[in-house]
């Protein structure tokens, strides 16, 4: 009866997440025009691309927060957008997501934020919840900050607490949205190692959306580069490093000149500067 219930934990080698021919637009502006992806189980997959290509949107589509215009997102064989609201919430217990802003609950302190998923989804006694929450906080280096409120934390600290919360239930799939932004070099290095260790020790599947090429490529097993609403390239970090496509090469090596424009489409600069009239 419960064979297909999303709360079950199947063991297989098939990809954990499959994105099929995904189309999505905001108003009249298309974001994705037929994106296909396969996220392998137990690996770290990086999703990279220039700003504004919809990397965060992709994570929200995978998490079921946004509904695509066409196409499917399958997590462990379950079509995320065909699930009932209740079944979707059950499925999400197997996922963790690290938000760009941290998105900590402002009325709870650091400790309670990390303990929150444990309190709502488990029947563990308080003493055990305390042990788990402190272990997660220790992993991100903020055990000493347990009594602080989210408003007292810096942006980087808030994201580390959010990471501790995201992994509190040891999820199968963790979605990282720009985990390295705003981190000082020490915590950046720790975070990179932490994501890698979590993946190796617990075998969890990770999708990392990031601009930080060096750090991301150092831990990723597989990389998707998206641009112009499509998958521009995919492969292992080593294969992308020697990719002939000038667009991929420009992005991976961070070159300012190349086929991917730095400027948002606009009229010629000189014409714009010399233009007179009321227009801004």
């Amino acid at each position: 009866m419960f064979d297909n219930f999303p709360g079950n934990l199947p063991m297989s080698d098939s990809p954990l997440v499959v994105v099929k021919d995904l189309h999505f637009s905001r108003g009249d502006m298309p974001i994705f025009r037929g994106v296909d992806m396969q996220i392998p189980r137990g690996k770290i997959t990086a999703v990279m691309g220039p700003s504004g290509t919809g990397k965060t949107t992709l994570l929200k589509l995978i998490g079921g927060q946004l509904v695509p215009d066409a196409g499917q997102v399958l997590i462990d064989g379950h079509d995320v957008h065909a699930l009932s609201r209740k079944a979707l919430f059950v499925l999400r217990r197997r996922m963790g997501m690290l938000f760009q802003s941290g998105a900590l609950f402002s009325d709870l302190d650091v400790y309670e934020n990390v303990a929150f998923p444990l309190r709502v989804h488990t029947d563990l006694p308080d003493a055990m919840i305390r042990d788990v929450a402190l272990m997660k906080l220790e992993a991100v280096g903020l055990r000493g900050a347990r009594a602080m409120m989210p408003a007292e934390l810096s942006g980087g600290m808030a994201r580390r607490v959010a990471l501790a919360r995201a992994i509190a239930l040891d999820p199968e799939l963790v979605l990282y949205d720009e985990p390295f932004v705003g981190q000082d070099p020490i915590s950046m290095g720790v975070l990179v190692q932490l994501i890698k260790r979590l993946n190796e020790a617990l075998g969890l599947t990770a999708i990392v959306v990031s601009h930080d090429i060096k750090e991301t490529l150092s831990i990723a097993d597989y990389v998707y580069v998206i641009a112009d609403g499509e998958v521009m390239a995919h492969g292992t970090p080593a294969s992308l490093d020697v990719d002939d496509d000038p667009r991929v090469s420009q992005f991976v090596h961070g070159e300012p000149d190349g086929p991917v424009p730095f400027h948002y489409p606009a009229v010629d600069f000189v014409t714009d500067i010399l233009a007179t009239g009321a227009q801004r």
Binding site: Q65, R85, F89, R92, M97, S101, S106, V120
Partner: protein, 260 residues
């Protein structure tokens, strides 16, 4: 002309769509088996929307009762009917002023705060992160606030009436010298438990549902920017006030206007 018609039609469709969304929202948020944790959250919200609204509601009730007695006395004394002051104060408060004024104050004090709080949680992605943790914010965030408002406002209305009648007594009996036996006696003889107190409470329950519903829906449905939060908070107070006054007329017509 066509453009005007089109615009009018579009606004109408958008309004209907919002109303439909709000209806589904209410059904999704209000049903569900309360867990022990749910009771705790509800109690916390009772403190936030109920206890913290006590001061403004009680003080307003006191002054409204006092003014009512003062104004009523100056008219009734011309007809030698100042002994009916207690009856006048009690009926005005129980039937009309308590449910309506308490609801308006509640919309301004607690409704706007609910909208701003939920809106800010949405703007800072707290609601989304809750969803991603596998917790439904409709159950966890919205439902306790909705039920707290539904229970708190009728209780505040009772308090408003009691303090208001007390204010009327202070001015009418203690200050202006109306005989206290006739103040209380006339009140007791004329106020009917079901038709006056009961109908007043029915009104208050309806207002409580509507005001809290508007407040939490506006918070949940707003555009998550600072301007969006500001607009939604204003909308909560404006819509709540208009709907309370409009519904009050309808309910009064049904309860006391011979339409029932």
């Amino acid at each position: 002309m066509m453009v005007l018609l089109q615009r009018f039609g579009r606004r109408g469709c958008e309004g209907l769509e919002t109303l439909g969304r709000a209806g589904i929202f209410l059904i999704q948020a209000s049903f569900g088996v309360p867990s022990p944790e749910g009771w705790r959250l509800w109690l916390r919200q009772m403190h936030f929307v109920g206890v913290l609204s006590l001061a403004i509601v009680m003080v307003s009730g006191l002054f409204i009762g006092m003014v009512l007695a003062l104004q009523g006395y100056t008219i009734l004394v011309d007809f030698g009917a100042e002994q009916a002051l207690g009856q006048m104060v009690a009926l005005s408060l129980l039937r009309e002023l308590s449910p309506v004024v308490a609801a308006l104050l509640f919309a301004g004090r607690a409704g706007s705060a609910l909208t701003a709080e939920i809106g800010l949680m949405k703007a800072t992605e707290q609601l989304t992160s809750m969803e991603m943790i596998g917790v439904d914010p409709l159950r966890r965030v919205v439902a306790p606030r909705l039920w707290a408002g539904f229970v708190a406002l009728p209780l505040l209305t009772v308090g408003f009436s009691v303090v208001g009648i007390g204010g009327g007594y202070l001015v009418g009996v203690e200050w202006l010298g109306v005989f206290d036996g006739s103040f209380w006696g006339n009140m007791q003889a004329s106020v009917d438990f079901w038709s006056d107190i009961g109908n007043g409470m029915v009104k208050s329950l309806v207002f409580a549902l509507v005001v809290t519903w508007i407040a939490v829906f506006q918070g949940y449905d707003l555009i998550p920017t600072s301007e969006g939060i500001s607009r939604a908070t204003t909308r909560t107070v404006v819509y709540s006030s208009l709907v309370v006054l409009g519904l009050d007329f309808v309910l009064t017509a049904v309860m006391f206007g011979g339409l029932s």
